[in-house]
């Protein structure tokens, strides 16, 4: 169905959802559910005179990762910002619920979304809630759910909420994780509070390096499909059990984080308190230097979530 590309050379950020899936899994192992030929398209977009996509902006199916069976979903960030519509959400929820029976080694969610698709807002919001519930059920059944974030749309809105329910997250420098996006914050609070055109501010507040340093993401990957593949394999084996002890540890971790950094005005202040020697150097760090920095920060790695 898709052109096969070299995983070492293929940029995660630039690749389409289909290219990511094809290059991420073991070669030729992907089997798609509700593929484009089935034309499961949005019933709403035509009412707004907007074009539809044959897969409604999400590719779901199963395949193998290093020989192990996995379920996989990949959002297409370039179709309507990867936003959750009714069909889009139903495909993800269906994949997760099917994983309860299939019991794969992991469910992988390749996020690339601005959140709910506004033209089908109620259905999209419902899909977010159903997805979070389904992830909790899948994790409860002992199957880790791994989120991978490195697309141009990041993981925003409901996508940020869903990411927070995953067992483990891997992020690249270009990946962003948040709930309210930069423009939303600026619209509500003013440009003096948050200037959405200040790219450096946006990335040090929501970008991959910040999320990794504070333990919001559990792995940092270079912007290639093979780097995300290696990160995912490591995270599957490192996923914590989903039990009361893990949830209590997560609550404690988050409370401690608020107490420790709640008065910071900028991410660089947080990095300094975490013990980063030269916080201003973080955005320009190479992957190797950044990995060494993360290894010295105790809070960056934890058993919670």
């Amino acid at each position: 169905m898709t052109t096969v590309s070299e995983p070492d050379a293929l940029s995660w950020y630039e690749a389409t959802a289909r290219q990511r899936v094809a290059a991420f899994l073991d070669a030729g192992s992907f089997e798609e559910f509700v593929g484009p030929s089935e034309r499961a398209m949005s019933p709403h977009l035509t009412l707004f005179d907007l074009p539809r996509a044959f897969d409604d902006g999400i590719v779901v199916g199963r395949g193998r990762l290093d020989g192990r069976p996995v379920s996989i979903a990949a959002q297409e960030g370039r179709f309507m910002g990867g936003a959750f519509g009714e069909v889009h959400g139903a495909k993800l929820v269906g994949l997760l619920r099917a994983a309860l029976d299939a019991k794969p080694a992991a469910v992988l969610i390749l996020f690339d979304t601005g959140g709910v698709r506004l033209q089908e807002a109620n259905a999209g919001e419902t899909a977010i809630a159903e997805t979070m519930r389904a992830i909790v059920d899948v994790r409860g059944a002992g199957v880790p759910v791994i989120g991978l974030i490195g697309g141009r749309a990041g993981a925003f809105g409901g996508g940020g909420l869903i990411a927070a329910t995953c067992s483990r997250l891997a992020v690249s420098e270009g990946g962003r994780i948040s709930v309210s996006g930069p423009e939303v914050i600026e619209t509500n609070k003013g440009a003096e509070e948050f200037d959405s055109r200040d790219r450096a501010l946006v990335w040090r507040t929501m970008g991959g390096k910040h999320r990794r340093l504070i333990g919001g993401a559990d792995a940092y990957a270079e912007d290639t499909v093979s780097a995300f593949r290696r990160a995912a394999l490591a995270l599957i084996d490192a996923a914590p059990p989903f039990d009361l002890a893990t949830l209590e540890a997560e609550q404690e971790r988050l409370e401690r984080r608020v107490a420790r950094f709640g008065d910071c005005r900028d991410a660089t202040e947080i990095w300094a308190r975490l013990g980063v020697n030269d916080p201003d150097a973080v955005p320009a760090m190479t992957t190797d230097t950044f990995d060494e920095t993360v290894a010295r920060i105790p809070e960056a790695s934890h058993d919670a979530r």
Binding site: T2, G35, P36, D49, P51, R52, F54, E76
Partner: protein, 102 residues
């Protein structure tokens, strides 16, 4: 939205046996092309859904050019357009036809 359908007969069937392929993404200035090997080897049908009205004759010319140049026999081609220019459409059609040759 505007829906267009063009039916052609051709003497050059699409080689290979790939049953279906998809290329491109529905985004501004881009389009997705779904190709399915479901027609008789001398037939090619192209359907287009586009939010940009009034360019039927341009689409007709691009599709006719594609069928005249490429091995497109046997293919039903379905396009979701995001406002792509004719050169992008021609490129995607050629990419799609190549994917079907595997």
């Amino acid at each position: 939205m505007e829906s267009l359908t063009f039916r052609h007969t051709t003497t050059t069937p699409s080689p290979g046996s790939t049953p279906r392929a998809i290329t491109g993404v529905v985004a501004s200035g881009n389009l997705e092309v779904l190709l399915e090997r479901v027609l008789a080897p001398d037939a090619c049908e192209v359907t287009i859904e586009t939010p940009v009205r009034g360019y039927g004759d341009v689409w007709e010319a691009v599709v006719a050019d594609f069928v005249a140049r490429g091995p497109a026999g046997g293919l039903r081609i379905s396009i979701n357009d995001g406002g792509a220019r004719p050169d992008a459409v021609a490129l995607r059609l050629a990419q799609g036809a190549r994917l079907m040759e595997a």
